[in-house]
Every structure is written in structure tokens, then in C-alpha cells.
Amino acid sequence: MKKRLLIVFVLLLAFGAARIPLERHIDTVHREAGFRTARIDLDLRSKISQMGFVAALSGFRSFVAAVLWIEAHIAWERTEWGRMAALFDTVTTLQPKSALYWDMASWHMAWNASVAALDNKEEPNEFLRRRAQRQYFDLGKKILEDGIANNPNNALLWERYAILLRDKLEEHCGAADAFQQAAGLDTGRTYLPRMAAYELARCEGRESEAYDRLKCLYDADPANHVPALIARLKEMEDKLGIPAADRIPSTP
């Protein structure tokens, strides 16, 4: 029996040597298709419990992420913003391909936590309240930037990033570029090119480009003759001194 076990052990090693090229090939195929991209390392270990880390190592990443997301939701109900930020960091590390987690985490930080920071009754100093608010805006921005780095072809994340730059940070040039990226990735959402052009119109130094973009949209499709686009186009016409003959007709 011992001799037989020894033979099987040798066979097991031989099978291992034979299958390793196959496993490496499948590993490459998986990675190219976007699988097995999560980073399970000491950084993650420092963020979650030992059991959570073991579970993540054992093929239950999404399960652990779901449990931590529920914890984050409970933290939200208790308005524990710092704890939420830490949990979001872990969840997005565990599930970097899930756009929903990046999107929601960023929204909670840039919209909810930032407002709570500004309305913080326990902080009488307005400067400090505003600084805390700005930190949450930046955190929301950082989350989306990391999300985009992990999912560069996700139109939703680009759109959310553009909205954050527009509404919270007033970075219109960046917002225009981000809307344009989203428009290129999702041609189904026809409002995205318009949004990109609107933001470009508010970006100093790029008025001429904004006018071309708006005019192009106006000429391309009557569905784009919406009040916002017409208003911005007229604004650009005035700003750039477009000759009357080239201007769009005034709406009644």
C-alpha cells in the first residue's frame, strides 16, 4: 500500500507539472476577460477581520463584500461617515469590477457625508466645516477616479465623475471631458454629448471648441434643439462675435 501511495504521489507531481501550462493559460484567459483582478494582500488584511480575510481568500470575495456593504448601509443609517468611508474602501478593494460599489460609495461621500459635514452642529468653526466638506468632495472624486482606473470602459462611472466635477467642484473643463468619455462609451444616452458641450461652454479658453461642438449637435439632429442647448449656443455666438448670417435663428 505504501509503495502504491508513493507511486500515486509521483503521479500527482507529474500531473501537476503537466497541468501547470494549462492552468497558466486559463489564468491568462481569465485575466484578459476581466476575471481574477482583485488585490487580496496585506493591505486588505489590515482592513478586514481575520475571518473576512480567510473568506475572501477562499473564493467568497463577493459574499464578504456584500456583508461589508450591509455594514456600511447600517453605518449610513447611524451617520457614521468615517466608518462608512473605511468600509467602502474595503468593499471596492474586494469587488473592483463592480461599478455600483464605486458609484454608491462616491455618492455617499460627495453628496451625503459632505452635506452632513457642512451642517455639523458640533463644529462651530465654519472654516473647519467647509474644509471637512471639501475633503468629502475630494474623497468622492478619488473613489470615482479609482473606479474608472479599474473599469475604464464603464460609461456610468465617467458620467458620475463628470456630474461630481460639475456640481460639487465646479471643474467644468474636466466635467466636459468626462461627459465626452461617457458619450463615447454609451451612444445610447443621447444627452451625454449635449452635457459635454454645455460644460465645455463653461470652460474658460475653450469657447471656440464649445461653439463648434454645440453647433455640430444643433445641426446634426432637431432633437437637440432643446432650450438649454440653444441658450448656450447663443451665449457662445455673442461671446465669439459670430456673424449674424452664421447665427442660428432666434426662437420665438
Binding site: M1, R4, L5, I7, V8, L11, L12, L13, F15, G16, A17, R19, I20, L22, E23, R24, H25, I26, D27, V29, H30, A33, G34, F35, R36, T37, A38, V54, L57, S58, G59, F60, R61, S62, F63, A65, A66, W69, I70, H73, Q95, P96, K97, S98, A99, L100, Y101, M104
Partner: protein, 300 residues
Amino acid sequence: MNSKPALPPAFSISRILVLATNTLTELARLKIFYFLLLFGLLVIGNSLFMARLSFEEEFQMLKDVSLGAMSIFTSLLAILATAMILPKDIEDRTIYTILAKPVPRFEYLAGKLIGILMLLGISTLVMALMFFAVLWFRESTVIADAQRQMADATGAPTEELTAYIAKVQASAFNTNLIPGVIVIFFKAALLASLTLFVSTFATSAIFAMIISIAVYFIGHLQATARDYWLEGMDIAWWTRGMVALVALIFPDLQAFSLADDIIAGTAVSMGLFLQTIGLGALYVGVYYLFACVVFSGREL
């Protein structure tokens, strides 16, 4: 006129199927399927709690928890049910009755393995159906709520409702979940075959369980060990030797953890799916052969 009795065939599918159905019946009598109730409670309870979240979050959580639980339950079932099969047959002395008949040992093992695979197949199918049913029910509820709200709101544009419904449908069921479930089954099948192999030389069911559970955990790190061994990392020679041993002995179980990324929206191509289940089938076959080699020399 003394005619010799006809010799039984050296290999018989019907014998294997009899052994397989008998194994399945034995396991069913052990009330193993009760764990499906637990899964049902988990999925339904989870969906009720998640109804507090946005529908995107709810569907994501439902998929995370359900596929995670499916993976845990099938893996545990594969290890625990397989580990007790041989020791139980030896203890009940059933094995002597079977092997005294013209049943080769490799057929006996094939019957046992197929019986367990049938158990795993039925369990995975029932869990998948429960999961899809809950997902469909929640999707229908969310859509019905939206339609009711739009009907109440006079003058609301129908395009918005259509877009909303499309968004709900995109967040709920997607066809990639099906290969995800099948890969979970293959991972469990691999563990069953591996445990059967371990139990051919194990001295008790507990020993086979402990070894298989240890292999389960190490198997998820095999890819890391393989990379350390082959990617030219700067490590000591003895560490390189150890990681090489791990890479050669243990199966790469991370290859079967596709569900995590499928939930996140990563698409599974047919080629990738076939290669993955092909690897699973290869492991099942090879571990079965190893089990046959060891079991054929075991003294009973």
C-alpha cells in the same frame, strides 16, 4: 451437458448506475437535502431585508449572497458527503457484500462518485432555481411598483418608464449567471473527486474531511504559489521549493471562482467557460484515476 455459466462483463454501465442511484438514495436518507431549506431561508430573508436598499444595491446583494452561499453549500456538501461514504460502507460492511460480487473496484468508486455528482447536481439546480425565482419575483415587484407610480403621475413620459424598466432588468438577471452557477458545480465536483481520492487512503472520515478542507483553502492560494515559483520572484531557494510543491500538488481553485466577477458584470465568453469546465472535468477524471490506483491495492 454442463455448460459454463456466462462470465459477467468486465465493465458495466448499468452496474455503475445501480451503485450511483443507491449512493444518492443513501445520502437522501441522511436528510442531506434539508440544507436546501436553509439556503431558501437565506435567499428569501436576504431579499426581504435588501428591499430597504435601492434596486441596484438589492440585486447586487442578492446575487452576492446567493452565489456565495451556493458556493459554500456545494463545496461543504461535496467534501462532507464524500468523506463519509467509504468509511460508512466499511463500517456497515456493505462494501464487502458489493465487492464479493463481480463488481470491479473502479466501478464501485465510479458509482459512488457519480452518485455524489448527482446529489451535487440536484442541489445546485434546486438552489439556482430558488435564486432565480427570488430574483425574478423581486424584479417583477420593482417593475410593478414603478408602473403603478407612473400610472398615478399624470403626464409622466412613458420613455422614462421604459428606460427605468430596462435599467431594472439589466440589474437583475443576466445570462452570465448561468455559466457562473455551472462553474460552481464543477468546483464542487472537483472537491468531491479529490475527497474520494483522499478517502481511499484515509483512516477515518474525519481525516478525509480535514485533509480536503485544508486542500480547499490551500487550493485558493495555489495560483499565488505558482506565480511565486514561475514568475522569477526574488525568494530563497527553499521557499521556491515549497511554493513549487504547493503548485504541483494542489488544484488551482481560484480558476473556479468566476462568480465574484460575474456578479460585478464581467461577461463570460463561451471559450472561457468551456476551458474552465474542461479544467474541472480534467481534475475530476484524474483524481478519480488516482483513487482507483490507491483503492485497488487497499486491503479490505
